[in-house]
Amino acid sequence: MDESWTRAKGVFATLAGPPVVWLVAFFLIPLGIIWAFSFGENASLTQIAINGTFSNYAHAIKPLYLGIILKSFWFAALTTVLCLVVGFPVAVAITFASEKTKAWLLLLIMLPFWTNLLIRTYALMAVLRTEGYINFTLGFLWNGVAHLAALFGYHAPAFTPLELLHNNFAVVFGLVYVQLPFMVLPLYAALDRLDRSLLEASLDLGAGQLTTFARVVVPMAMPGIVSGVLVTLIPSIGAYLTPDLLGGPSSQMIANVIERQFKTANDWPFGAALSFLLMYMTFVAIAVQAMLARGRRSARA
């Protein structure tokens, strides 16, 4: 293993070859085709003329579409914050669990991946709908209490089901549900490597629990937090299934608009431009984040 790869070029090429071919053939080339479409226009129902036009991008930065992108960012940001708030204690708890429990807890976190996202989303619909499990349970409890109250002469009003499905709440709820494991796993990986003696030192030297958490645990878990935030935020911005199935009249996200361009509207160049606009924005956000991180590091040094 000490040997430099340059001395075993043949082995390296054999090992790297298939993944590189795969990446180029099934990722870079298709992506390149879609990128080329974004500079084209519909010549007919079946033909796209790639003529270097920027008209699709000009159209995509209209306030209507920018507003929808902004809204998608907002949904995704809210999802990420909620995942972080919920996921951090979970990750801490797993870190401090015994080795045997830890394995089970990690399995529980990964268990949802064994079921297809579409099926999980439909299951969530059955839970949230007007006549779903939550409303059924609440109605059952309400009626029980109402019966009891009636014995004492108080007549409670009839149970009105909560509106849990087909609104923006359901979309964020669904996104948090889907993305939570992606937040917990990197957080756990970072926290698990944390040197416990540092915590003891901090406590011994007079820092309280909160101070220790804020000034020792969080900074040391920062790489995990950053990667958790990225892998939660980016897929959430492009979420398509969740707003489509759980959303209400005002839950349209940018991926739903893009989907229609490739289907009913049959405007692939515009759909491609919208997709790449989103991708450029994500790249810029990551670059800015990386620059800020570098700035912070050099400031500290």
């Binding site: 080329a36 209507l64 209400g248 009913t264 509207a265």
Partner: protein, 363 residues
């Protein structure tokens, strides 16, 4: 700077040849050529159809009658069908697009004219289906089923019969219990219909009025659904919904409290049609199949299973009374007279409709 023009098709041909071979291989298979029929074509047929859209024995009956083996593939939306064929026919002999897509296929030059002499059973068609505006003289398509959009509703939750589009588009009486079809063209066209216009060539100012109407109505709408209105109605999530008569007819058998009405302003007719795509490997078998479907008995076998309205007079005569006299499957002729076919009116209009609903959803 202008780059050399390139087309999607040539790009795909150049770069995606391997992928294309992969995805289309299952259709033709690597098996040796099968037996040849009297017409010189292999005794096979590739049918590309909607799910649950044939009778229980239709394909077996066809094989018994002609010796031709039908291999059926399924698509879920017209877009999927169109996308599959626009890069070249991967080997289908018969496809079943809806009327607006018959127009698209025709414009894109992807379907072939039918040899009407090979389809004598077209004499069985009801007069109203022999010369539709989207295919004058039935030169490219034969009707398989038809549908009409209307309002499905829960009887116990309504004040009377909701026989106007007003109750879904322009009123808060059923606030929070309304479902609207999310398909861009249907939404805009039905809105125009409610305002007293035809569903074709809608004037631009009317499109804006329709958009404003829906935006005003949004607080009252529970969901813009994707053709699952019947399920939402059945589960009690909503009580009144824009949906197809065939879909509501199916759930009415499960819940006697549900009903359907075509609003008095009129509505949009839809018709799924049998077409032969260009490059079909076995066009004569395809004609035989279409003629077989239009036969009275074979048609009745299909409609008995799928319960969709039939355009076939001879098949209709063989159907039981509970189908023939069902006002959901066959709404009263007075209101049907006010229904019309929508049509594909060019990509610019498709784009405009899409942007209009994007605006409505984003408002």
């Amino acid at each position: 700077m202008r780059r050399p023009t390139s087309s999607r098709r040539s790009l795909l041909a150049g770069l995606g040849a391997a992928a294309a071979g992969l995805s289309f291989a299952p259709l033709e298979g690597c098996a040796p050529k099968g037996r040849i029929g009297r017409n010189g074509e292999e005794l096979k047929l590739n049918l590309y159809n909607w799910d649950t859209y044939t009778g229980k024995t239709t394909l077996a009956d066809f094989k018994a009658a002609t010796g031709i083996d039908v291999r059926m593939s399924l698509f879920a939306t017209n877009d999927e069908l169109f996308a599959k064929l626009k890069a070249g026919n991967p080997g289908f002999d018969v496809i079943v697009p809806s009327n607006e897509y018959v127009t698209r296929f025709k414009i894109a030059d992807l379907i072939m004219p039918l040899e009407l002499a090979k389809i004598p059973n077209r004499a069985n068609l009801l007069p109203g289906f022999r010369n539709p505006p989207f295919d004058p003289g039935r030169r490219y398509s034969m009707p398989y089923t038809w549908l009409v959009l209307g309002i499905g509703y829960r009887k116990s939750k309504m004040d009377g019969v909701p026989d106007s589009w007003k109750w879904v588009m322009d009123s808060d009486r059923y606030k929070g219990r309304i479902g609207v079809f999310s398909e861009a063209d249907d939404m805009i066209e039905l809105g125009a219909k409610y305002l007293g216009y035809s569903v074709r060539n809608i004037p631009y100012p009317v499109i804006d009025r329709v958009a404003e109407m829906y935006i005003r109505q949004k607080p009252n709408i529970k969901i813009f659904h994707h053709d699952e209105g019947q399920d939402l109605l059945l589960s009690g999530d909503i009580d009144i919904v824009m949906e197809y008569n065939g879909d509501i007819a199916q759930v009415m058998t499960e819940d006697a409290d549900l009903d359907f009405v075509v609003p008095r302003e009129g509505s949009i007719l839809n018709s799924d049609c049998l077409c032969i795509p260009k490059g079909a490997p076995r066009p004569d078998n395809a004609h035989q199949f279409i003629n077989f479907i239009l036969d009275a008995k074979n048609g009745a076998e299909i409609y008995q299973t799928i319960k969709y309205p039939t355009p076939n007079a001879a098949a209709l005569a063989l159907m039981p009374a509970d189908y023939r006299d069902n006002p959901v499957i066959f709404p009263p002729s007075a209101v049907m007279a006010r229904c019309e076919y929508a049509d594909f009116e060019g990509l610019d209009r498709a784009h405009l409709y899409d942007e209009t609903v994007t605006r409505i959803f984003a408002a």
